[in-house]
């Protein structure tokens, strides 16, 4: 047992060193642009109600599923550029690309939209590749991925019509959307280029603002590299009434369909009227490290996954 663990961890050494180096580069990247690194609670009395993200309870509170609401409370108080590495917990999420405890990198900017978040992500990923002496080509799972910006940008409508044969913006059916995303759309993406899918159906972006002039499309964007869903960005919703309405509807479904409690994040809603125009993004650090370590599984970049804890 002790010998097995010693060998297992020794084998991870190169990846863990690379992981630390990626964290250092990421901090440099944001610090140089005047971002402030912050830390917010891992345990909270209320989180954003999301039907498909099951929280882990902690003495009546919840372990964080994302630091998003705290980040926005900081923005509402006048902070303009913030980032954090945040340990998050999502019940039951375990697989090749998932561990129920994982690390999100989130960053937010005021006076920005989701397109700015994509530019930031392009900058961050190419900076890390440069720092690791990879140039602009990432080799992942036998594929050469050209990291040079701008990355491919495709709307959800056009991608789904091509790969799945229907348009979820016209017909926002959540279950079918989720299934086709993993079974049809992701496998069909260009394997040699990072791809941004953008302009999600409005009901599938509960914290994002609508695209100007559109009632059916939200300014949400997701980054995919090498078949991995890496990051999710929003032009953030700043309308308190609209946000409360969406939260209440989501909470109603959670309580009725799943029989779990979903208390309103009242402290967030209370300051939301002070939230300026802003954009934010959540990026899976474990997956980013996987890409740069050519790791087939998240187990190769986390020393103690839930199975080894």
């Amino acid at each position: 047992m002790a010998e097995d663990e010693r060998q297992r961890l020794a084998h991870l050494s190169i990846n863990l060193q690379r992981r630390a180096s990626i964290y250092n580069t990421t901090r440099d990247f944001f610090n140089k642009q005047g971002f402030l690194e912050v830390e917010t609670p891992v345990r909270s009395p209320a989180i954003a109600p999301e039907k498909e993200i099951i929280p882990i309870g902690s003495e009546g509170w919840f372990l964080s599923t994302s630091p998003e609401l705290y980040m926005k409370r900081l923005l509402a108080a006048g902070y303009d550029k913030i980032y954090q590495f945040s340990r998050c917990f999502r019940k039951g999420e375990r697989g090749r690309y998932h561990n129920p405890e994982f690390t999100l990198l989130e960053w937010y900017r005021t006076d920005a939209d989701y397109e700015q978040m994509m530019k930031d992500t392009e900058g961050l990923v190419t900076t890390i590749a440069g720092k690791l002496d990879m140039g602009t080509t990432l080799r992942y799972r036998g594929k050469k991925i050209d990291l040079r910006p701008p990355w491919l940008r495709l709307t959800i409508s056009e991608t789904f019509k091509k790969s799945a044969g229907w348009d979820p913006v016209a017909e926002p059916v959540a279950q079918r959307f989720d299934e086709d995303t993993v079974l049809k759309v992701i496998p069909d993406l260009n394997p040699n280029r990072p791809t941004v899918l953008m302009d999600y159906p409005a009901p599938m972006a509960s914290l994002a603002r609508l695209k100007p002039g559109r009632k059916d499309v939200a300014e949400r964007a997701e980054v995919f590299i090498g078949g991995l869903e890496l990051a999710n960005a929003y032009s953030e919703l700043t309308d308190r009434q609209e946000q409360k309405k969406r939260f209440l509807e989501e909470a109603r479904q959670i309580e009725q369909e799943q029989n779990r409690t979903a208390p309103m994040p009242e402290k967030f809603l209370a300051v939301m009227s002070n939230l300026p125009e802003c954009a934010g993004i959540a990026l899976g650090m474990d997956r980013l490290v996987m890409l740069f370590c050519d790791a087939a599984s998240i187990d190769e970049v986390i020393p103690f996954t839930t199975d080894e804890a």
């Binding site: 999301e50 498909e52 993200i53 019940k91 039951g92 999420e93 375990r94 697989g95 090749r96 998932h98 959540a174 279950q175 959307f177 989720d178 299934e179 995303t181 993993v182 079974l183 599938m204 972006a205 997701e222 869903e229 999710n232 959540a282 899976g284």
Partner: protein, 188 residues
């Protein structure tokens, strides 16, 4: 059990048939619902099945174990075995054994797959030695390559054997393919 408790190696009942999970893949868009893709092996007939499930799916585990047993005798369609641990006898239907019944002779030690307390299937030794009970006399042909002919084994099963095999000989049979391997010289 919840689908999140299903892993590689978990044994499940699906449509009243026990399956072993050979591979389990968890896929989930960050904001969306999870999908599980399982590669399953039917524990009764060994066939494979690929299935995709949603996260709301519930499963019943299959209470499967293995036990060593010795084949005693055949009683109509029932094959009677004895546990080598506690000498208890149990029977397995010919339909469950399928072609494996062709290679069972008294005394053969097998691994029995048990579902709860019900024997379901056996794993045979890879090679078994069986006596040739009846075989036609080879027709004389002057060829270099071995000519094959049909022979009836002590289990009643017929297989192809080389022309030089005589009634009363013992031969080795590969139970995975059901084919003749070699003549066993020293068997008395």
């Amino acid at each position: 059990m919840d689908i999140s408790d299903v892993h590689k190696g978990t044994k499940l009942m699906i449509d009243n048939v026990p399956y072993n999970v050979e591979e389990a893949e968890f896929m989930k868009p960050g904001k969306g619902s999870a999908i599980y893709r399982f590669k399953l092996r039917n524990l009764v007939d060994g066939s494979n099945l690929n299935r995709t499930y949603r996260s709301s799916e519930k499963f019943t585990g299959a209470n499967v174990s293995t036990r060593e047993g010795q084949f005693l005798y055949r009683d109509g369609n029932h094959f009677i075995f004895m546990s080598t641990d506690n000498y208890e006898q149990y029977s397995i239907d010919e339909t469950l054994l399928g072609e494996k019944s062709h290679f069972l002779k008294e005394g053969t030690i097998v691994t029995t797959v048990m579902l709860e307390e019900k024997p379901l299937d056996i794993t045979l030794p890879i090679f078994v030695e069986l006596k040739v009970m009846k075989s036609d006399i080879a027709t004389k042909t002057d060829t270099v390559t071995a000519q094959m002919k049909s022979a009836t084994l002590e289990t009643g099963h017929e297989i192809d054997v080389p022309n030089f095999i005589k009634e009363g000989d013992y031969i080795k049979v590969d139970t995975r393919t059901g084919s003749y391997v070699e003549r066993v010289i020293t068997k008395k």
